[in-house]
């Protein structure tokens, strides 16, 4: 049996056609999506190896570098960058590592041949990643307000949260591509090897302008740099580069990873 509803041509994402499933009514579609999200969330919740690091690391690093070591001088700047760092984690790991694992367990094949659209499965992952991202952001906000003495306008708090959540999209797609390409054994190591340097070199751990000049040049090539700068523009602490360049770069990365992921997806299905 096949899944006739998914248009895999071009760069269209699996998931885009979800709303027009011919044999499901609207409430049924919604229920299906909720079920997928709930089950994926449950899977994540039951793997403490995922929950603990993705929640604790950004908070711990922020408190350490953003609040205590720098005595609060940069606590607003680093709040933004550690938010970016934090939300990239669930996106890369839930898609990268978990898809690779589920692929090796045959679960992905199962999803691909099941009557329910595979897009719902990806949607579920997206929702659970976003929920984790949201929790991380909220935790960081609490730390920033209580310990970092950060004061932002409500519009900035909301804007920042909204922007970093939407900004996880390219990293979800990046993770998906990695998950589809990597073996279950290799995935955790490789994703870590990508995640941490991406964060550091993109200026998410330390302010980009204190890195040496050549590293600042190099950062231009990284999605994490543009993500961080775009988020920093919410509090007016980005570099002189206009914000739309960062947005453009992120859109290009999103499209690139979408193409790569959809190719890998087709290859996986044809196996």
């Amino acid at each position: 049996m096949n899944t006739p509803n998914i248009n895999m041509s071009g760069i269209d994402l699996p998931g885009i056609k979800t709303a027009t499933l011919p044999w499901l009514s609207w409430p049924q579609t919604l229920k299906l999506l909720l079920m997928e999200a709930k089950s994926d969330l449950l899977t994540l919740w039951r793997s403490p190896g995922f929950v603990a690091p993705s929640l604790i690391f950004p908070v711990m690093f922020y408190l350490l570098f953003g609040v205590f070591l720098t005595k609060g001088g940069q606590s607003d700047y680093l709040l933004v960058t550690y938010c970016c760092f934090g939300v990239m984690g669930p996106a890369l790991f839930n898609f990268g590592v978990n898809v690779a694992t589920e692929k090796s367990q045959g679960w992905l094949t199962m999803k691909q041949i099941a009557p329910a659209p595979v897009s719902a499965y990806l949607f579920g992952k997206m929702v659970s990643s976003l929920l984790f991202a949201l929790v991380i952001v909220l935790l960081l906000f609490v730390c920033a307000a209580l310990f970092g003495d950060v004061r932002l306008y409500t519009s900035q708090w909301l804007g920042l949260a909204g922007l970093v959540l939407v900004g996880t999209l390219p990293f979800c797609l990046f993770g998906l591509w990695l998950g589809l390409t990597l073996s279950a054994k290799a995935a955790p190591a490789v994703v870590n090897l990508i995640y941490l340097p991406l964060a550091f070199l993109g200026g998410l751990w330390l302010p980009i302008h204190i890195l040496p000049g050549f590293m600042q040049q190099f950062a231009q090539l990284l999605p994490s740099f543009h993500f961080g700068q775009l988020a920093l523009s919410v509090i007016g602490r980005d570099l002189a580069q206009p914000w739309w360049q960062h947005l453009l770069a992120l859109i290009v990365f999103t499209l690139l990873f979408a193409v790569l992921a959809s190719r890998a997806f087709r290859q996986n299905r044809s196996v």
């Binding site: 909720l34 003495d149 004061r151 306008y153 708090w157 949260a161 007016g236 980005d238 570099l239």
Partner: protein, 606 residues
């Protein structure tokens, strides 16, 4: 009926709304964290400045507020920045990036004088490579320093006996293209930030010094390029400029004055994106010689050091350049600018007619006179030199840049506001005015009579001096003799003056002050006199102002018999009498006989 997911959804939304409404906003007071507050207020390099009219190095940005933390710009905002840092008002003032002087030579107090007039970065075009290394330190960080950052060519590239070798400092020279790679590599190993080459075409209308040939020039530029450094060329005429640009130079560090620029050179410079530092001020001092007097020397409110005043009064009189030729340089600068060639402000300080710091605003006024708009003049001393020389740290005020700041009155209408800067910060720390140690006072009458020994009545003393200390060939030996003029005791010098050093000297130096650096204040006196005899002929008395190496010279004659020479101090026009560091009795460079002796006694001032 409301379903369970709806309840969860609504409940979460409500919880989020409550959460976000509880987050603190700037209206909430900061918690009194004593540790944070005290470290920040104790840090002199952290403050908030505004409102100011901001020129960021490229354009006017309107009214802005700046937050500086630990010597760097942390935030630039259109609205007031309220936090625990000290607030500095700048209402009605202009804020510029610390200026960049794109052509200086660094010795003595150059780097301390520069920031007094907002010059927080200098590009040195030739200095001692040994002195350069320690002075380059710290420019990538924000140390608390009361001096300008230095980027330097170090040792220049020149031919044996070429321009650059005449200062008495032994430097390596180059003769053939084959030596180019190793020569450039050696400069880079010494720490040169860029490569400066001295070149004069074989077809140049007027030859000053021996020069490397065109093939060597091309090879050196290529070697610099391959080794990742900028190659800039010193030229003084159009033909040499053309050949230098043809050889691939990235920039020319002087303009030329002898002719008007031709289309051929303009097109080539434009096509190869070559910049030029026209150094108008030093050329003005060679020819017209009015600019410094008009804007600076007639003003009493400018706190200039003795050596700055002294230098600004000098000119290259020996070249006898007709004043009209300076119009060529203004014309060349304007036409190059109109062709889109980058113009950089540079002074060539401390050459005659220029002084560190103050000469950059003077140069900027001349650039405006040449036809650059005011904004373009400001760019020529900030962002343009920074980008041309690849300096990331200076010339542009943006978040993350060093807080090198120049706060001046409304410079938008009038560049002369630069002569009286309001406040200057280097690495976020305010530049304090240099307090010149007061010159020693001298009482009228006897300075020295050598009755019993070489000891002088006033001042530090007398000694023999010659250019042998600068690797020259002259010599001088001093002794005390019993037989003097009228009373016992005099000083005798036996010496020889020989070519070798560019400015040969041999004779006796007397230091009238308590130290060489401060000098003595002779401004209350009208004449100096001394008794002298020796080898007959014409001799010179040279007066040096504190901190300056450029003497003011007057002649006198000597015979076999004792005679008292009285010289009015007005003969030494251009000397800074309020701080005279040294008097030098010297045989003239063109003496018919190299060997001479002099006996000197009863030096008086009245």
């Amino acid at each position: 009926m409301v379903s369970k997911p709806w309840i969860i959804g609504l409940g979460s939304a409500l919880a989020l709304a409550v959460f976000f409404s509880l987050l603190p906003t700037p209206m909430d007071p900061k918690k009194p964290d004593t540790a944070t507050t005290s470290t920040n207020t104790a840090d002199p390099a952290s403050f908030v400045l505004g409102p100011v009219q901001l020129f960021d190095g490229e354009a006017w940005q309107g009214q802005r507020y700046l937050e500086v933390r630990q010597g760097r710009i942390n935030q630039i905002s259109a609205s007031p920045i309220k936090n625990e840092l000290p607030q500095i008002d700048g209402e009605g003032m202009s804020l510029l990036p610390g200026l960049i002087d794109a052509h200086v030579h660094t010795y003595n107090d150059a780097l301390e004088l520069a920031p007094q007039y907002g010059v927080t970065t200098v590009l040195d075009m030739f200095m001692s490579a040994q002195l350069m290394k320690p002075l380059q330190a710290g420019r990538d960080e924000t140390p608390n320093q009361q001096r300008a950052d230095l980027y330097s060519a170090g040792t220049l590239v020149t031919a044996p006996k070429g321009h650059g070798t005449e200062y008495g400092m032994p430097i390596p020279t180059i003769e053939t293209p084959e030596q180019a790679n190793a020569f450039v590599a050696a400069r880079i190993a010494e720490g040169s930030d860029f490569i400066k080459i001295v070149y004069e075409s074989a077809k140049a209308p007027r030859k000053h010094f021996p020069s490397i040939d065109e093939a060597t020039l091309t090879a050196v530029i290529k070697a610099a390029q391959q080794q990742g450094k900028l190659a800039v060329v010193h030229i003084s005429d159009q033909q040499s400029a053309l050949e230098a640009v043809r050889a691939g130079a990235h920039g020319l560090v002087h303009g030329f004055i002898e002719s008007r620029v031709q289309q051929k050179l303009l097109d080539l410079m434009k096509a190869q994106n070559v910049f030029i530092i026209p150094t108008l001020a030093v050329h003005e001092a060679m020819s017209v010689r009015q600019h410094n007097a008009k804007y600076v020397l007639n003003r009493d409110d400018l706190k200039l050091r003795a050596n700055q005043r002294h230098n600004l009064k000098q000119g290259f009189t020996q070249f006898n350049i007709p004043p009209a030729l300076f119009d060529n340089l203004l014309y060349n600068t304007r036409v190059m600018h109109q062709h889109g060639i980058r113009i950089l402000a540079g002074t060539d300080a401390p050459n005659p007619g220029t002084a560190h710091g103050i000469s950059l605003p003077l140069e900027m006024l001349l650039l405006q006179q040449a036809g650059l708009s005011l904004d373009e003049v400001l760019k020529s001393a900030t962002s343009v030199p920074a980008s041309s020389f690849g300096i990331q740290q200076a010339g542009l005020l943006k978040v993350g840049a060093k807080a090198d700041l120049l706060l001046v009155g409304n410079v938008k209408n009038d560049l002369t506001a630069l002569f009286s800067p309001h406040k200057i910060w280097k690495n976020g720390v305010q530049i304090k005015p240099l307090i010149s140690a007061a010159a020693s006072t001298v009482s009228a009458g006897l300075l020295a009579d050598f009755v019993q020994s070489r000891k002088t009545v006033q001042g530090l003393g007398i000694s023999a001096s010659s250019d042998s200390m600068m690797q020259g060939q002259s010599s001088a030996n001093m002794s005390w003799i019993a037989e003097g003029y009228q009373s016992t005791g005099a000083i005798r010098v036996d010496g020889a003056i020989k070519p070798g050093f560019s400015y040969p000297w041999s004779g006796l130096t007397y230091l009238p002050g308590k130290s060489m650096e401060q000098g003595a204040d002779l401004s209350a006196f009208s004449q100096v006199s001394f008794a002298i005899r020796g080898t007959p002929g014409s001799y010179q008395l040279q007066l040096f102002s504190a901190g300056s190496m450029l003497p003011v010279v007057a002649d006198f004659t000597v015979s076999h018999e004792w005679q008292v020479v009285t010289m009015p101090l007005s003969q030494f026009a251009g000397a800074e009498l309020s701080a005279i560091s040294m008097l030098l009795w010297s045989a003239p460079a063109n003496a018919p006989q190299p060997e001479y002796f002099l006996e000197l006694d009863e030096i008086k001032i009245n």
